[in-house]
Amino acid sequence: MAFAIETSDGRYLSIVRHLDYGKSKVAMGERDRLRDSSRDILDIRIQNDPINKTNNATYVSEEDAELDMQDAIVYIRSTLNNFKQLLAELEEESSKLGGEEESALRSVGRLFKGSEDDRKGFMSRAGKLGKKLSRIRSASSSNQFVAATMLRRARMWRKIIIGLSVVEV
């Protein structure tokens, strides 16, 4: 009889921990050796089958699987909380960029309302403002991409930890 940690969409969680002899995956029976230690989680993977070519994600007892599942939930939840802080920093940066962009756009408005006598000065200032706006918009675009990508992955992991259960396989 073997047990595994199943996700809500019918896949399986594989929990990888640091062991004394290096990096190793938790396989059948290994949990017994880990129970009284505090081995850090190295990775958590989602795989389609409880046993595949590279990993065995099964446990000899239901209790072992339950313990690992709880550890995984705590670990993922803790990282997702850290992620919220990073997003808050991104929000602060995006607000700053928004302010810089508005300021640059006001400068553009003033430039076009100014005297047309100084052609050379006009071109120089227009070039500088163009570069500045380009930098600001590139940074905004990058922030948006990072936030959207990370958010998508964070949602997936949150969905995972909500729907876990221990099953016999």
């Binding site: 969409d9 958590i44 989602i46 990282t79 808050a88 991104l90």
Partner: protein
């Protein structure tokens, strides 16, 4: 990109911070949490 980009970003961030997050239909094959954490660390260091 325009100022709309910044607004969109703010909206995304507020969604993430909210406890009322509804899970999107996201599917990844053989996803590794360590990869996600590694990307977060890079983000923290301004690497992304």
């Amino acid at each position: 990109m325009s100022r709309i980009t910044v607004r969109q970003l703010k909206r995304l961030i507020k969604e993430a911070i909210s406890e009322q997050l509804e899970m999107a239909d996201v599917e990844e094959d053989d996803e590794s949490f360590a990869d996600f954490v590694s990307d977060l660390e890079e983000l923290e260091m301004g690497g992304l």
